[in-house]
Protein backbone atom coordinates (compact mmCIF):
# COMPACT_ATOMS: atom_id res chain seq x y z
CA UNK A 1 0.00 0.00 0.00
CA UNK A 2 1.29 3.48 -0.83
CA UNK A 3 2.11 5.84 2.02
CA UNK A 4 -0.67 8.27 1.09
CA UNK A 5 -3.17 5.43 0.69
CA UNK A 6 -2.15 4.07 4.06
CA UNK A 7 -2.82 7.51 5.50
CA UNK A 8 -6.26 7.67 3.89
CA UNK A 9 -7.12 4.18 5.14
CA UNK A 10 -6.15 5.10 8.70
CA UNK A 11 -8.28 8.24 8.96
CA UNK A 12 -6.72 10.54 11.57
CA UNK A 13 -8.82 11.91 14.43
CA UNK A 14 -10.13 15.46 14.17
CA UNK A 15 -7.60 16.60 16.78
CA UNK A 16 -4.77 15.85 14.34
CA UNK A 17 -5.89 18.93 12.40
CA UNK A 18 -7.02 22.44 13.17
CA UNK A 19 -8.12 25.50 11.22
CA UNK A 20 -4.56 26.22 10.08
CA UNK A 21 -4.55 23.04 7.97
CA UNK A 22 -7.40 24.29 5.80
CA UNK A 23 -6.13 27.74 4.94
CA UNK A 24 -3.59 26.92 2.27
CA UNK A 25 -3.98 24.41 -0.53
CA UNK A 26 -2.31 24.30 -3.90
CA UNK A 27 -4.14 23.12 -6.99
CA UNK A 28 -6.38 24.50 -9.70
CA UNK A 29 -9.74 24.74 -7.95
CA UNK A 30 -10.47 27.44 -5.35
CA UNK A 31 -12.98 25.03 -3.80
CA UNK A 32 -10.47 22.25 -3.20
CA UNK A 33 -10.31 22.80 0.56
CA UNK A 34 -14.07 22.76 1.12
CA UNK A 35 -14.50 19.00 1.16
CA UNK A 36 -11.55 18.24 3.48
CA UNK A 37 -12.71 21.05 5.79
CA UNK A 38 -16.30 19.79 5.79
CA UNK A 39 -15.12 16.25 6.58
CA UNK A 40 -13.00 17.53 9.45
CA UNK A 41 -15.60 19.94 10.82
CA UNK A 42 -18.26 17.21 10.85
CA UNK A 43 -16.16 15.43 13.49
CA UNK A 44 -14.75 18.51 15.19
CA UNK A 45 -18.01 20.34 15.88
CA UNK A 46 -19.67 17.80 18.18
CA UNK A 47 -16.30 17.18 19.82
CA UNK A 48 -16.12 20.71 21.23
CA UNK A 49 -15.99 23.19 18.38
CA UNK A 50 -19.72 23.72 18.92
CA UNK A 51 -18.68 25.87 21.88
CA UNK A 52 -17.79 28.58 19.37
CA UNK A 53 -20.65 30.73 18.15
CA UNK A 54 -23.32 29.53 20.55
CA UNK A 55 -26.39 31.75 20.32
CA UNK A 56 -27.44 33.98 23.20
CA UNK A 57 -31.11 34.47 23.96
CA UNK A 58 -30.76 37.35 26.43
CA UNK A 59 -28.81 40.56 27.02
CA UNK A 60 -25.08 40.03 27.72
CA UNK A 61 -25.45 40.80 31.42
CA UNK A 62 -23.77 38.81 34.17
CA UNK A 63 -26.18 35.95 33.55
CA UNK A 64 -27.16 34.82 30.06
CA UNK A 65 -29.36 32.30 28.27
CA UNK A 66 -27.23 30.32 25.86
CA UNK A 67 -28.43 27.78 23.30
CA UNK A 68 -26.16 24.78 23.74
CA UNK A 69 -24.48 24.16 20.39
CA UNK A 70 -24.60 20.39 20.83
CA UNK A 71 -28.01 19.74 22.39
CA UNK A 72 -29.89 22.81 21.12
CA UNK A 73 -31.27 23.29 24.65
CA UNK A 74 -31.20 26.66 26.42
CA UNK A 75 -28.89 26.93 29.42
CA UNK A 76 -28.82 29.69 32.06
CA UNK A 77 -25.15 30.51 32.61
CA UNK A 78 -22.96 32.91 34.59
CA UNK A 79 -21.39 35.09 31.93
CA UNK A 80 -17.59 35.33 31.86
CA UNK A 81 -17.40 35.56 28.08
CA UNK A 82 -18.92 38.87 26.99
CA UNK A 83 -16.75 41.99 27.00
CA UNK A 84 -19.04 44.62 28.51
CA UNK A 85 -16.28 45.33 31.05
CA UNK A 86 -18.23 48.11 32.75
CA UNK A 87 -21.66 46.52 32.43
CA UNK A 88 -22.91 49.53 30.51
CA UNK A 89 -24.68 48.19 27.42
CA UNK A 90 -27.84 47.17 29.24
CA UNK A 91 -28.06 50.12 31.63
CA UNK A 92 -31.53 51.80 31.55
CA UNK A 93 -30.05 55.16 30.45
CA UNK A 94 -28.40 53.50 27.46
CA UNK A 95 -31.49 51.58 26.41
CA UNK A 96 -33.63 54.70 26.81
CA UNK A 97 -31.29 56.80 24.65
CA UNK A 98 -31.24 54.13 21.96
CA UNK A 99 -35.02 53.74 22.06
CA UNK A 100 -35.53 57.49 21.70
CA UNK A 101 -33.09 57.59 18.82
CA UNK A 102 -34.90 54.73 17.14
CA UNK A 103 -38.12 56.69 17.41
CA UNK A 104 -36.47 59.84 16.04
CA UNK A 105 -34.17 58.50 13.31
CA UNK A 106 -35.45 55.04 12.44
CA UNK A 107 -33.11 52.08 12.16
CA UNK A 108 -29.98 53.03 10.26
CA UNK A 109 -27.85 55.85 8.88
CA UNK A 110 -28.82 55.06 5.29
CA UNK A 111 -25.62 56.49 3.88
CA UNK A 112 -21.86 56.83 4.01
CA UNK A 113 -20.62 59.24 6.70
CA UNK A 114 -19.17 61.49 4.02
CA UNK A 115 -22.47 61.76 2.13
CA UNK A 116 -25.87 61.49 3.80
CA UNK A 117 -25.02 59.22 6.74
CA UNK A 118 -23.81 61.71 9.34
CA UNK A 119 -26.43 62.80 11.88
CA UNK A 120 -26.29 65.35 14.68
CA UNK A 121 -25.91 62.54 17.19
CA UNK A 122 -22.74 61.37 15.41
CA UNK A 123 -21.22 64.84 15.68
CA UNK A 124 -22.20 65.16 19.32
CA UNK A 125 -20.74 61.76 20.13
CA UNK A 126 -17.44 62.42 18.32
CA UNK A 127 -17.13 65.77 20.04
CA UNK A 128 -17.72 64.36 23.54
CA UNK A 129 -15.40 61.47 22.83
CA UNK A 130 -12.61 63.88 21.83
CA UNK A 131 -13.11 65.78 25.11
CA UNK A 132 -12.98 62.51 27.04
CA UNK A 133 -9.74 61.52 25.31
CA UNK A 134 -8.26 65.00 25.79
CA UNK A 135 -7.73 65.43 22.06
CA UNK A 136 -8.81 68.01 19.51
CA UNK A 137 -10.98 65.67 17.50
CA UNK A 138 -12.25 62.14 17.00
CA UNK A 139 -13.47 60.16 14.04
CA UNK A 140 -15.86 57.25 14.50
CA UNK A 141 -15.82 54.04 12.46
CA UNK A 142 -18.55 51.41 12.08
CA UNK A 143 -16.43 48.72 13.76
CA UNK A 144 -13.12 48.42 15.58
CA UNK A 145 -11.87 46.28 12.71
CA UNK A 146 -12.61 49.02 10.18
CA UNK A 147 -10.94 51.60 12.42
CA UNK A 148 -7.59 49.82 12.29
CA UNK A 149 -7.87 48.85 8.64
CA UNK A 150 -9.00 52.34 7.64
CA UNK A 151 -6.61 54.35 9.77
CA UNK A 152 -3.44 52.40 8.96
CA UNK A 153 -4.15 52.29 5.23
CA UNK A 154 -5.11 55.97 5.24
CA UNK A 155 -1.72 56.95 6.62
CA UNK A 156 0.82 54.48 5.26
CA UNK A 157 1.78 53.67 1.68
CA UNK A 158 3.80 51.33 -0.46
CA UNK A 159 7.47 51.87 0.35
CA UNK A 160 6.76 52.72 4.00
CA UNK A 161 7.42 50.33 6.88
CA UNK A 162 4.96 49.19 9.54
CA UNK A 163 6.38 47.40 12.58
CA UNK A 164 3.85 45.27 14.44
CA UNK A 165 3.90 43.34 17.67
CA UNK A 166 3.65 39.66 16.70
CA UNK A 167 0.39 39.34 18.68
CA UNK A 168 -1.29 42.21 16.83
CA UNK A 169 -5.00 41.89 16.18
CA UNK A 170 -6.02 40.78 12.69
CA UNK A 171 -7.43 44.24 11.95
CA UNK A 172 -3.98 45.77 12.43
CA UNK A 173 -2.36 43.18 10.19
CA UNK A 174 -5.05 43.64 7.55
CA UNK A 175 -4.55 47.42 7.70
CA UNK A 176 -0.87 46.91 7.01
CA UNK A 177 -1.67 44.59 4.10
CA UNK A 178 -4.07 47.13 2.62
CA UNK A 179 -1.48 49.89 3.04
CA UNK A 180 0.91 47.79 0.90
CA UNK A 181 3.72 48.86 3.20
CA UNK A 182 6.56 46.57 4.16
CA UNK A 183 5.38 44.77 7.29
CA UNK A 184 7.83 43.69 9.96
CA UNK A 185 6.80 41.82 13.10
CA UNK A 186 8.71 42.15 16.36
CA UNK A 187 8.51 39.67 19.23
CA UNK A 188 5.67 40.27 21.60
CA UNK A 189 6.28 43.21 23.93
CA UNK A 190 10.01 43.02 23.21
CA UNK A 191 11.71 46.42 22.77
CA UNK A 192 15.07 44.74 22.09
CA UNK A 193 13.65 42.91 19.08
CA UNK A 194 11.96 46.10 17.90
CA UNK A 195 15.36 47.79 18.14
CA UNK A 196 16.88 45.05 15.99
CA UNK A 197 14.10 45.25 13.40
CA UNK A 198 13.80 49.03 13.16
CA UNK A 199 17.51 49.82 13.06
CA UNK A 200 18.52 51.05 9.62
CA UNK A 201 14.96 51.25 8.27
CA UNK A 202 14.65 54.34 6.10
CA UNK A 203 11.56 56.33 5.22
CA UNK A 204 8.21 56.55 6.98
CA UNK A 205 7.88 54.17 9.90
CA UNK A 206 4.86 53.31 12.02
CA UNK A 207 5.06 51.14 15.14
CA UNK A 208 1.73 49.63 16.23
CA UNK A 209 1.04 48.27 19.71
CA UNK A 210 -2.05 47.41 21.71
CA UNK A 211 -2.79 48.74 25.18
CA UNK A 212 -3.89 45.32 26.40
CA UNK A 213 -3.43 42.18 24.31
CA UNK A 214 -6.64 40.26 23.84
CA UNK A 215 -5.43 36.68 24.28
CA UNK A 216 -2.98 37.06 27.16
CA UNK A 217 -4.46 40.10 28.88
CA UNK A 218 -1.01 41.60 29.35
CA UNK A 219 -0.35 45.31 29.09
CA UNK A 220 1.94 46.82 26.49
CA UNK A 221 5.50 47.58 27.65
CA UNK A 222 4.77 51.06 26.43
CA UNK A 223 7.57 53.18 27.95
CA UNK A 224 10.30 50.91 26.60
CA UNK A 225 8.75 50.39 23.17
CA UNK A 226 7.94 54.07 22.79
CA UNK A 227 11.53 54.99 23.63
CA UNK A 228 12.83 52.79 20.79
CA UNK A 229 10.14 54.12 18.46
CA UNK A 230 10.99 57.76 19.08
CA UNK A 231 14.74 57.24 18.98
CA UNK A 232 14.38 55.87 15.46
CA UNK A 233 12.12 58.68 14.29
CA UNK A 234 9.06 56.48 13.92
CA UNK A 235 5.45 57.27 14.78
CA UNK A 236 3.37 55.15 17.15
CA UNK A 237 -0.23 53.98 17.00
CA UNK A 238 -1.73 52.46 20.13
CA UNK A 239 -4.87 50.36 19.79
CA UNK A 240 -6.69 50.68 23.11
CA UNK A 241 -9.57 48.36 22.19
CA UNK A 242 -9.35 46.54 25.53
CA UNK A 243 -8.12 49.47 27.62
CA UNK A 244 -10.11 52.60 26.72
CA UNK A 245 -12.47 53.64 29.54
CA UNK A 246 -10.57 51.39 31.96
CA UNK A 247 -6.93 52.42 32.44
CA UNK A 248 -5.42 55.73 33.57
CA UNK A 249 -6.63 58.37 36.02
CA UNK A 250 -9.38 59.47 33.60
CA UNK A 251 -9.95 56.11 31.95
CA UNK A 252 -8.36 57.21 28.69
CA UNK A 253 -6.28 54.08 28.38
CA UNK A 254 -2.87 52.52 28.88
CA UNK A 255 -1.07 55.51 27.36
CA UNK A 256 -2.59 57.69 30.08
CA UNK A 257 -1.81 55.02 32.68
CA UNK A 258 1.89 55.40 31.85
CA UNK A 259 1.66 59.20 31.60
CA UNK A 260 2.50 58.96 27.89
CA UNK A 261 -0.75 60.15 26.42
CA UNK A 262 0.86 63.08 24.61
CA UNK A 263 3.95 61.18 23.47
CA UNK A 264 1.96 58.51 21.60
CA UNK A 265 1.06 59.88 18.17
CA UNK A 266 -2.17 58.07 17.36
CA UNK A 267 -4.86 56.74 19.67
CA UNK A 268 -7.43 54.18 18.55
CA UNK A 269 -10.17 52.49 20.52
CA UNK A 270 -13.44 50.59 20.25
CA UNK A 271 -16.91 50.71 21.74
CA UNK A 272 -17.60 46.98 21.70
CA UNK A 273 -15.53 46.23 24.78
CA UNK A 274 -15.99 48.59 27.72
CA UNK A 275 -19.22 50.14 26.40
CA UNK A 276 -20.58 46.81 25.17
CA UNK A 277 -21.70 48.40 21.90
CA UNK A 278 -20.08 48.49 18.49
CA UNK A 279 -17.71 50.72 16.54
CA UNK A 280 -14.23 52.17 16.72
CA UNK A 281 -12.55 55.55 16.78
CA UNK A 282 -9.33 57.43 16.26
CA UNK A 283 -8.51 60.49 18.37
CA UNK A 284 -5.93 63.16 17.60
CA UNK A 285 -5.38 66.58 16.14
CA UNK A 286 -7.95 68.24 13.91
CA UNK A 287 -5.53 67.95 10.99
CA UNK A 288 -5.11 64.23 11.55
CA UNK A 289 -8.83 63.58 11.77
CA UNK A 290 -9.57 65.62 8.64
CA UNK A 291 -6.96 63.64 6.75
CA UNK A 292 -8.30 60.28 7.99
CA UNK A 293 -11.82 61.40 7.12
CA UNK A 294 -10.66 61.90 3.55
CA UNK A 295 -8.58 58.75 3.10
CA UNK A 296 -9.92 55.97 5.37
CA UNK A 297 -11.63 53.83 2.77
CA UNK A 298 -13.12 51.35 5.27
CA UNK A 299 -15.22 54.24 6.65
CA UNK A 300 -15.62 56.30 3.50
CA UNK A 301 -17.18 53.36 1.66
CA UNK A 302 -19.27 51.96 4.54
CA UNK A 303 -22.62 52.99 5.85
CA UNK A 304 -22.18 55.06 9.00
CA UNK A 305 -22.80 53.64 12.46
CA UNK A 306 -26.53 53.54 13.15
CA UNK A 307 -27.75 56.68 14.94
CA UNK A 308 -29.60 54.36 17.33
CA UNK A 309 -26.37 52.70 18.37
CA UNK A 310 -24.58 56.04 18.44
CA UNK A 311 -27.15 57.51 20.82
CA UNK A 312 -26.70 54.50 23.08
CA UNK A 313 -22.93 54.86 22.92
CA UNK A 314 -23.19 58.54 23.80
CA UNK A 315 -25.19 57.63 26.91
CA UNK A 316 -22.61 54.93 27.68
CA UNK A 317 -19.74 57.40 27.26
CA UNK A 318 -21.40 59.75 29.74
CA UNK A 319 -21.74 56.92 32.25
CA UNK A 320 -18.13 55.82 31.80
CA UNK A 321 -16.95 59.45 32.20
CA UNK A 322 -19.05 60.31 35.22
CA UNK A 323 -18.92 57.08 37.20
CA UNK A 324 -15.28 56.31 38.02
CA UNK A 325 -16.60 53.92 40.65
CA UNK A 326 -17.29 51.48 37.81
CA UNK A 327 -13.57 51.31 37.04
CA UNK A 328 -12.82 50.95 40.73
CA UNK A 329 -15.28 48.05 40.99
CA UNK A 330 -13.80 46.39 37.91
CA UNK A 331 -10.26 46.55 39.32
CA UNK A 332 -11.51 45.30 42.67
CA UNK A 333 -13.08 42.31 40.89
CA UNK A 334 -9.89 41.72 38.92
CA UNK A 335 -7.82 41.78 42.14
CA UNK A 336 -10.25 39.40 43.83
CA UNK A 337 -10.16 36.94 40.96
CA UNK A 338 -6.37 37.08 40.68
CA UNK A 339 -5.98 36.37 44.38
CA UNK A 340 -8.49 33.53 44.38
CA UNK A 341 -7.05 31.89 41.28
CA UNK A 342 -3.58 32.08 42.83
CA UNK A 343 -4.87 30.50 46.05
CA UNK A 344 -6.47 27.69 44.05
CA UNK A 345 -3.32 27.12 41.99
CA UNK A 346 -4.95 28.19 38.73
CA UNK A 347 -2.50 29.68 36.23
CA UNK A 348 -3.62 32.93 34.57
CA UNK A 349 -0.45 33.47 32.58
CA UNK A 350 0.86 37.01 32.19
CA UNK A 351 -2.47 38.76 32.59
CA UNK A 352 -2.47 42.06 34.43
CA UNK A 353 -5.84 43.25 33.24
CA UNK A 354 -9.52 42.35 33.11
CA UNK A 355 -8.75 39.89 30.28
CA UNK A 356 -7.79 36.76 32.17
CA UNK A 357 -6.70 33.55 30.46
CA UNK A 358 -7.07 30.42 32.55
CA UNK A 359 -4.16 28.47 31.14
CA UNK A 360 -5.03 24.86 30.30
CA UNK A 361 -1.87 24.32 28.23
CA UNK A 362 -3.30 21.15 26.75
CA UNK A 363 -4.69 21.40 23.22
CA UNK A 364 -6.37 18.01 23.30
CA UNK A 365 -8.20 18.73 26.58
CA UNK A 366 -9.18 22.39 26.38
CA UNK A 367 -12.48 21.83 24.57
CA UNK A 368 -13.63 19.03 26.86
CA UNK A 369 -12.66 21.15 29.88
CA UNK A 370 -14.69 24.08 28.52
CA UNK A 371 -17.59 21.73 27.82
CA UNK A 372 -17.54 20.44 31.39
CA UNK A 373 -17.39 23.96 32.80
CA UNK A 374 -20.31 25.08 30.66
CA UNK A 375 -22.34 22.09 31.80
CA UNK A 376 -21.71 23.32 35.36
CA UNK A 377 -23.11 26.75 34.64
CA UNK A 378 -20.31 29.01 33.34
CA UNK A 379 -20.11 30.70 29.95
CA UNK A 380 -16.51 31.37 28.88
CA UNK A 381 -14.40 31.17 25.74
CA UNK A 382 -12.02 28.28 24.99
CA UNK A 383 -9.08 29.42 22.88
CA UNK A 384 -6.73 27.01 21.16
CA UNK A 385 -4.18 26.81 18.33
CA UNK A 386 -3.90 28.59 15.89
CA UNK A 387 -5.37 31.57 17.81
CA UNK A 388 -2.63 30.98 20.40
CA UNK A 389 0.63 28.99 20.16
CA UNK A 390 0.54 25.19 20.35
CA UNK A 391 0.15 23.87 23.92
CA UNK A 392 -0.92 27.33 25.13
CA UNK A 393 -4.65 26.68 24.99
CA UNK A 394 -6.74 28.48 27.55
CA UNK A 395 -10.16 29.57 28.73
CA UNK A 396 -10.53 33.30 28.29
CA UNK A 397 -12.39 35.21 30.95
CA UNK A 398 -13.66 38.77 30.64
CA UNK A 399 -14.13 40.32 34.06
CA UNK A 400 -16.89 42.92 34.43
CA UNK A 401 -17.62 45.60 36.98
CA UNK A 402 -21.10 44.14 37.11
CA UNK A 403 -19.92 40.80 38.50
CA UNK A 404 -20.38 40.20 42.21
CA UNK A 405 -17.67 38.64 44.35
CA UNK A 406 -20.07 35.88 45.31
CA UNK A 407 -20.59 34.93 41.66
CA UNK A 408 -16.86 35.17 40.95
CA UNK A 409 -16.09 32.98 43.95
CA UNK A 410 -18.50 30.33 42.70
CA UNK A 411 -16.88 30.53 39.25
CA UNK A 412 -13.38 30.09 40.71
CA UNK A 413 -14.50 27.00 42.59
CA UNK A 414 -16.13 25.49 39.50
CA UNK A 415 -13.11 26.17 37.28
CA UNK A 416 -10.58 24.91 39.83
CA UNK A 417 -12.65 21.78 40.47
CA UNK A 418 -12.83 20.88 36.78
CA UNK A 419 -9.13 21.57 36.25
CA UNK A 420 -8.31 19.33 39.21
CA UNK A 421 -10.55 16.55 37.94
CA UNK A 422 -8.71 16.73 34.63
CA UNK A 423 -5.31 16.75 36.35
CA UNK A 424 -4.60 20.24 35.08
CA UNK A 425 -3.98 21.98 38.39
CA UNK A 426 -2.82 20.99 41.84
Amino acid sequence: MEAAQKMAAEKPGFSEYDYSNFYYGAGDDPLNLLRPFADWYRDARPSGYYLYQEALGSAPTTHVRVKNGKTGRWQDLFNLASYNYLGISYRPEVKKAAAEALEKYGLGASGSPILSGTFDVHEEFASELARFKGKEACIVFPTGYSANVGFISALMRSGDTILLDQYSHASIVDGAILAKSKTVFFRHNNPLDLERKIAGVKGKKLVVVEGVYSMDGDMCALPEILEVTKRHGARMLIDEAHSTFLFGPNGRGVAEHFGLDKEVDFHLGTFSKSLGGQGGFVAGTRELIDYVNAFARSRFFSCNLSPVLTAGLLAGLRIASSEPQLRAKLWSNVAFLRRRFAEEGVDIGKSNSQVMPVMVNNDSKVLSVAEKIQDRGLFLNPVTYPAVPKHKSRLRISVSAAHTEADLEAAVQTIAAVLREEGLCR
Partner: protein
Amino acid sequence: MSITRYGYRDAISGFFEFPTDNARRILPRGTEPVEPHHGTSIFAVTVFDFHESEVGEYGEVVYAVIVPPLVRDGRLPKSAFFPWQVATTTKAARQHAIERWHLPHWMEDVKVDFARGEGKLVARVEAGGTPAMELTVTDHSWQQVSHLYQSFQTDESGSYMANILFEGEKSEHEEETGKIVLHDNPFNQDVVVSEVYDTPFRELWMRNGCQLFDPLVKL
Protein backbone atom coordinates in the same frame (compact mmCIF):
# COMPACT_ATOMS: atom_id res chain seq x y z
CA MET B 1 8.04 1.01 -7.61
CA SER B 2 7.03 0.44 -4.00
CA ILE B 3 7.48 2.52 -0.87
CA THR B 4 11.03 3.61 0.01
CA ARG B 5 11.76 3.40 3.71
CA TYR B 6 14.24 5.40 5.78
CA GLY B 7 14.55 4.59 9.48
CA TYR B 8 15.78 7.31 11.80
CA ARG B 9 16.91 7.52 15.38
CA ASP B 10 16.16 11.23 15.50
CA ALA B 11 14.90 13.92 13.18
CA ILE B 12 14.75 17.47 14.48
CA SER B 13 13.18 20.49 12.82
CA GLY B 14 13.05 24.16 13.59
CA PHE B 15 10.63 26.56 11.86
CA PHE B 16 12.19 30.01 11.57
CA GLU B 17 10.59 33.22 10.42
CA PHE B 18 12.32 34.92 7.53
CA PRO B 19 11.20 37.52 4.99
CA THR B 20 8.88 36.43 2.22
CA ASP B 21 11.13 38.35 -0.19
CA ASN B 22 13.87 35.85 0.66
CA ALA B 23 11.50 32.89 0.30
CA ARG B 24 10.43 34.09 -3.14
CA ARG B 25 14.04 34.29 -4.30
CA ILE B 26 14.40 30.61 -3.38
CA LEU B 27 11.13 29.24 -4.71
CA PRO B 28 10.51 28.55 -8.39
CA ARG B 29 7.92 30.68 -10.19
CA GLY B 30 4.40 29.56 -9.41
CA THR B 31 5.23 28.20 -5.97
CA GLU B 32 4.02 30.32 -3.08
CA PRO B 33 5.32 30.30 0.48
CA VAL B 34 3.01 29.83 3.46
CA GLU B 35 3.02 33.03 5.51
CA PRO B 36 2.45 32.73 9.27
CA HIS B 37 2.37 36.53 9.25
CA HIS B 38 1.98 38.90 6.35
CA GLY B 39 5.41 39.35 4.76
CA THR B 40 6.94 36.53 6.82
CA SER B 41 7.59 33.03 5.55
CA ILE B 42 8.93 29.87 7.12
CA PHE B 43 12.50 28.65 6.76
CA ALA B 44 12.39 25.00 7.91
CA VAL B 45 15.66 23.40 8.94
CA THR B 46 15.66 19.64 9.51
CA VAL B 47 18.51 17.36 10.51
CA PHE B 48 18.14 13.57 10.29
CA ASP B 49 20.08 10.79 11.92
CA PHE B 50 19.22 7.86 9.63
CA HIS B 51 20.23 4.38 10.75
CA GLU B 52 18.42 2.34 8.11
CA SER B 53 18.12 2.94 4.39
CA GLU B 54 19.00 1.49 0.99
CA VAL B 55 22.31 3.35 1.26
CA GLY B 56 23.11 2.57 4.89
CA GLU B 57 23.49 4.95 7.82
CA TYR B 58 23.94 8.66 7.19
CA GLY B 59 23.16 12.12 8.40
CA GLU B 60 21.19 14.64 6.38
CA VAL B 61 20.46 18.35 6.57
CA VAL B 62 17.49 19.85 4.73
CA TYR B 63 16.85 23.54 4.15
CA ALA B 64 13.27 24.06 2.99
CA VAL B 65 10.52 26.64 2.63
CA ILE B 66 7.06 25.68 3.88
CA VAL B 67 4.58 25.81 0.99
CA PRO B 68 0.87 24.98 0.58
CA PRO B 69 0.10 21.27 0.19
CA LEU B 70 -1.52 19.99 -2.97
CA VAL B 71 -5.00 18.85 -1.99
CA ARG B 72 -6.37 16.11 -4.21
CA ASP B 73 -9.04 13.49 -3.71
CA GLY B 74 -9.82 14.89 -0.27
CA ARG B 75 -6.48 13.72 1.13
CA LEU B 76 -5.07 16.34 3.42
CA PRO B 77 -1.37 16.40 4.31
CA LYS B 78 -0.25 18.02 7.57
CA SER B 79 1.90 20.40 5.58
CA ALA B 80 4.21 20.63 2.58
CA PHE B 81 7.71 21.87 1.99
CA PHE B 82 10.02 22.82 -0.82
CA PRO B 83 13.56 21.66 -0.04
CA TRP B 84 16.07 23.78 -1.88
CA GLN B 85 19.26 22.45 -0.34
CA VAL B 86 19.90 18.96 0.96
CA ALA B 87 23.25 17.87 2.30
CA THR B 88 24.32 14.39 3.34
CA THR B 89 27.24 12.85 5.14
CA THR B 90 27.85 10.24 2.41
CA LYS B 91 28.19 10.31 -1.34
CA ALA B 92 25.97 7.22 -1.72
CA ALA B 93 23.10 8.93 0.10
CA ARG B 94 23.51 12.03 -2.03
CA GLN B 95 23.48 10.12 -5.33
CA HIS B 96 20.50 8.05 -4.24
CA ALA B 97 18.44 11.15 -3.33
CA ILE B 98 19.33 12.99 -6.50
CA GLU B 99 18.46 10.05 -8.71
CA ARG B 100 15.32 8.94 -6.96
CA TRP B 101 13.90 12.18 -5.59
CA HIS B 102 15.40 14.90 -7.79
CA LEU B 103 16.45 16.75 -4.67
CA PRO B 104 18.89 19.67 -5.05
CA HIS B 105 22.07 18.89 -3.15
CA TRP B 106 25.12 20.43 -1.62
CA MET B 107 27.59 18.45 -3.65
CA GLU B 108 30.14 17.65 -0.96
CA ASP B 109 29.88 15.50 2.13
CA VAL B 110 29.02 17.44 5.25
CA LYS B 111 29.81 16.50 8.82
CA VAL B 112 26.86 16.19 11.22
CA ASP B 113 27.35 15.74 14.97
CA PHE B 114 24.53 15.24 17.42
CA ALA B 115 24.86 16.22 21.07
CA ARG B 116 22.14 14.91 23.34
CA GLY B 117 21.22 16.74 26.51
CA GLU B 118 18.40 16.65 29.01
CA GLY B 119 15.33 17.24 26.84
CA LYS B 120 17.27 18.70 23.96
CA LEU B 121 19.20 17.71 20.90
CA VAL B 122 21.85 19.82 19.22
CA ALA B 123 22.93 19.15 15.65
CA ARG B 124 26.21 20.74 14.50
CA VAL B 125 26.88 20.81 10.79
CA GLU B 126 30.19 21.47 9.07
CA ALA B 127 30.47 22.15 5.35
CA GLY B 128 33.77 22.64 3.56
CA GLY B 129 35.58 21.86 6.81
CA THR B 130 34.17 24.85 8.67
CA PRO B 131 31.08 25.33 10.86
CA ALA B 132 27.94 25.96 8.82
CA MET B 133 24.97 25.62 11.13
CA GLU B 134 23.99 24.62 14.63
CA LEU B 135 20.39 23.67 15.43
CA THR B 136 19.05 23.18 18.95
CA VAL B 137 15.62 21.65 19.46
CA THR B 138 13.97 20.93 22.80
CA ASP B 139 11.27 18.42 23.60
CA HIS B 140 7.76 18.70 25.01
CA SER B 141 5.16 15.92 25.28
CA TRP B 142 5.65 12.82 23.12
CA GLN B 143 3.06 10.88 21.19
CA GLN B 144 3.06 8.17 18.55
CA VAL B 145 2.02 9.64 15.19
CA SER B 146 1.59 8.81 11.53
CA HIS B 147 1.55 12.06 9.57
CA LEU B 148 1.43 12.68 5.85
CA TYR B 149 3.61 15.44 4.36
CA GLN B 150 4.37 16.52 0.82
CA SER B 151 7.68 17.53 -0.65
CA PHE B 152 7.94 19.47 -3.91
CA GLN B 153 11.00 19.39 -6.12
CA THR B 154 11.95 21.09 -9.34
CA ASP B 155 14.95 20.46 -11.56
CA GLU B 156 15.76 20.77 -15.26
CA SER B 157 13.69 17.64 -15.95
CA GLY B 158 10.47 19.02 -14.45
CA SER B 159 8.49 19.44 -11.23
CA TYR B 160 7.76 16.61 -8.83
CA MET B 161 5.90 15.81 -5.64
CA ALA B 162 6.60 13.15 -3.05
CA ASN B 163 4.07 11.94 -0.49
CA ILE B 164 5.93 11.12 2.69
CA LEU B 165 4.52 9.39 5.72
CA PHE B 166 6.34 10.17 8.96
CA GLU B 167 5.87 7.51 11.60
CA GLY B 168 7.31 7.42 15.07
CA GLU B 169 7.30 9.34 18.33
CA LYS B 170 6.81 13.04 17.92
CA SER B 171 7.18 16.11 20.09
CA GLU B 172 5.98 19.45 18.73
CA HIS B 173 5.74 22.77 20.51
CA GLU B 174 6.01 26.54 20.27
CA GLU B 175 7.84 27.30 23.50
CA GLU B 176 10.59 29.23 21.69
CA THR B 177 13.30 27.39 23.58
CA GLY B 178 15.34 26.22 20.58
CA LYS B 179 17.92 28.10 18.57
CA ILE B 180 19.79 28.24 15.29
CA VAL B 181 23.22 29.59 14.57
CA LEU B 182 23.88 30.18 10.89
CA HIS B 183 27.58 30.70 10.31
CA ASP B 184 29.17 32.79 7.60
CA ASN B 185 29.58 29.85 5.26
CA PRO B 186 28.66 29.37 1.56
CA PHE B 187 26.32 26.66 2.84
CA ASN B 188 23.96 29.47 3.93
CA GLN B 189 24.33 31.63 0.85
CA ASP B 190 20.66 31.56 -0.11
CA VAL B 191 19.39 33.12 3.09
CA VAL B 192 20.06 36.59 4.46
CA VAL B 193 21.33 35.35 7.81
CA SER B 194 20.68 38.61 9.65
CA GLU B 195 17.01 38.42 8.65
CA VAL B 196 16.40 34.90 9.95
CA TYR B 197 14.95 35.06 13.46
CA ASP B 198 17.25 32.78 15.43
CA THR B 199 14.58 31.32 17.73
CA PRO B 200 12.23 28.82 16.12
CA PHE B 201 8.56 29.59 16.58
CA ARG B 202 7.94 25.85 16.26
CA GLU B 203 10.15 22.92 17.19
CA LEU B 204 9.54 19.34 16.04
CA TRP B 205 11.41 16.27 17.16
CA MET B 206 10.71 12.80 15.77
CA ARG B 207 12.48 9.76 17.18
CA ASN B 208 12.58 6.00 16.71
CA GLY B 209 10.59 6.10 13.51
CA CYS B 210 10.68 6.00 9.76
CA GLN B 211 9.87 7.98 6.66
CA LEU B 212 7.90 6.15 3.99
CA PHE B 213 8.19 7.70 0.53
CA ASP B 214 5.65 7.00 -2.18
CA PRO B 215 7.04 6.87 -5.71
CA LEU B 216 7.67 10.36 -7.02
CA VAL B 217 4.77 12.02 -8.84
CA LYS B 218 5.61 14.17 -11.88
CA LEU B 219 3.48 17.30 -11.85
